[in-house]
Structure formats: structure tokens, C-alpha cells
């Protein structure tokens, strides 16, 4: 039956975008996605060439503000030029992003899933939604910090924003419960 063969191919070639950051919640989301979305397909066992879902790992670096940092006593002469501080903050951010992405890429390789990574700058909510639209992914996966309603209103929730504004289907992975009965 050609239709069912086509459906399987469509299923296996699912492009999934996963938002990652340094939080455990997002790594749990990545692990969940790899376990449930990709190994399930591997068990079907046919057509190993088409058995390629793809994962796009997206890490968004928040923009660094240019503040002037007053350092030490003695007026304006002691102001460090903003550049130096901004540079070092940027470098720290880059190192952090690199370690986050390398850990995520390793997880994908362990599960034999093709993965690509990208680093974006700006507001996480908007950048993730834009990236999902541009890459025309089938599914966007985000972790959730499991905040209550008040915290969410104050701190903001990336998954909440994306759930309402992304045009692609979105999967929100909750952190595992402490008292899980199974």
C-alpha cells in the first residue's frame, strides 16, 4: 500500500526543534523528545535511510546590555570603559552556550539522531517562534519550569508565549514530579 508507506516516511522525517538552555528542565525536555519521538520510530525497523528525523537545537542568548560599571573610588576616572566589561560578559555567555550545545549534541548522538545546533541572540520567546517558522519544523519542543500562575506572570514564561504565538505544533515537557507513582 503506497499510502501507508508514504505516511511512514512522513512520520520518520519529522523535523523537531528543541529549545535548550542551561536549565535542567530543557535537558529533560530534550531527553524526553529523543526517547519518545525518535526511538519509537527506530523500533519500526524499516527503511533505515528514511529513518532520519532531525533535531534542531536552538539556544538563545539574551542580549547583553551596555552598562557602564563604576569601579573603585575616585569619580569618573575610575569608570571602566564599557567595552571591556561587555566583552568579558559576552565571552562568558559564549562559553556557556557552547557547553550547553555540546552537551545537547552529545545526547542526540547517543540516540543516533541527526542534530544541528544554532545560537541566536535576543529575546528567547520571539527568537524561538521565529526560528521555528523559518525552519519550517514539524514540532517545537520546549521544557517548562513548572512555575505557578503568579510567578509566570512576574517572571514570564517562554513556553507560554510560544504556545500562543508559534505557528507550528508545540510540545511542552513538564519536569518530572517528585512523587511520581509508577
Amino acid at each position: 500500500m503506497e499510502e501507508s508507506g508514504g505516511a511512514e516516511q512522513r512520520r520518520m522525517r519529522m523535523k523537531v526543534m528543541v529549545g535548550v538552555d542551561e536549565s535542567e528542565g530543557s535537558f529533560y525536555a530534550l531527553k524526553w523528545a529523543l526517547d519518545n519521538l525518535f526511538t519509537a520510530m527506530a523500533t519500526v525497523g524499516e527503511a533505515t535511510e528514511e529513518n532520519e528525523g532531525m533535531v534542531f537545537l536552538v539556544h538563545v542568548e539574551p542580549k547583553v546590555h551596555n552598562f557602564v560599571y563604576p569601579v573603585g573610588p575616585g569619580g569618573p576616572a575610575a569608570f571602566y570603559p564599557a567595552n571591556v566589561v561587555v566583552e568579558s560578559v559576552k565571552k562568558a555567555e559564549e562559553e556557556k552556550s557552547a557547553s550547553v550545545l555540546s552537551r545537547a549534541l552529545k545526547m542526540c548522538h547517543n540516540k543516533l539522531v541527526k542534530a544541528e545546533s544554532m545560537i541566536l541572540n535576543g529575546d528567547p520567546r520571539e527568537m524561538i517562534c521565529e526560528a521555528a517558522d523559518q525552519m519550517q519544523v514539524n514540532l517545537l519542543v520546549l521544557g517548562s519550569r513548572g512555575l505557578g500562575a503568579l510567578k509566570r506572570a512576574l517572571l514570564g514564561s517562554v513556553s507560554d508565549y510560544c504556545a500562543h504565538h508559534a505557528r507550528t505544533p508545540i510540545l511542552i515537557v513538564k519536569p518530572p514530579e517528585q512523587n511520581k507513582k509508577q
Binding site: 512522513r10 512520520r11 519518545n36 519509537a40 507560554d160 504556545a163 500562543h164 508545540i170
Partner: protein, 159 residues
Amino acid sequence: MAESSSEKKVVVIGIDDSEQSTYALRWTLDHFFPNPVFKLVLVHSRPTATSAVGLAGPGAAEILPIVDSDLRKIAARVVDSAKQLCIDKSVKDVTAEVVEGDPRNVLCDVVEKYHATILVVGSHGYGAIKRAVLGSVSDYCAHHAHCTVMIVKKPKTKH
């Protein structure tokens, strides 16, 4: 502790009469099935007749049974067309449930009952104001369900 031979992962999907939920069902069937690992549970929540009628007026007692049977017909129709869609996509392991009550609670309860791996809901795509006034089931579920939630939106036909 139930190490049953079929440790299938349960996918619960909420369905109602809308186009968006049919689209969500179709998307899920296309992308997740046929698949030996997943088991599909369709849930339709039927509003109770009393909540649909609203405040009791003088004639309420008479129209209640009519409203009730109408809701029952709608529920049956929704479930049947969903089951038909599953059969068309050759997905066999499907359970369907019709539960009375508020959709938000019903969906979360079904997730608990089946220890679902994932809950799929469509989204009407309301803006912020409509959502505040009419309420959003997908929003509630995304925050209160105890499992992963997938929200499938029907793409708006823009440009």
C-alpha cells in the same frame, strides 16, 4: 509496577466539534502513528445539560431533556467521525471516551487515569482577550496536566 507485556505509551487526545481539533487529530495520526509503541485514547468532554442551559427559567425543566439528547447526539457524532478518521489511517488500537463535565478537568482526569505519556489538544487560536473571556482549554491543560502537553494549531491561511 504493572510490567505488562504491552507497555504502550498512552497518547490522550481531546476532541470536540471544531475544525481545529480534527486538524490536531489528523496531525497526530500522521506524525505519531501507525506505531506499535503508542496507544491512542480519544476523549470528548460533553458539557452537562444544566451548564449548557444556564440559569433555570420557567421552561427549563422542559427543554433540559431535549438539550441533553442533543448533546448526546453531538458527542456520538464527534466520536464516530474521529474513530472513522483513525480507521482511515489504519490505526487500530484506539479507545474512545465520552465524559461529562468541564473539558479542562475532564482532560486532566483522563491523563491521570491512563497515566498518559502525552496529551494532545488543538487550539482555537484565540487572542488574549477572547482567551480571558471564553477561557482556553489548551492553556489550562498546558499548565495543569501532569504530563507532556502538545498543542497543535491549525495554520491560518495567511499570505
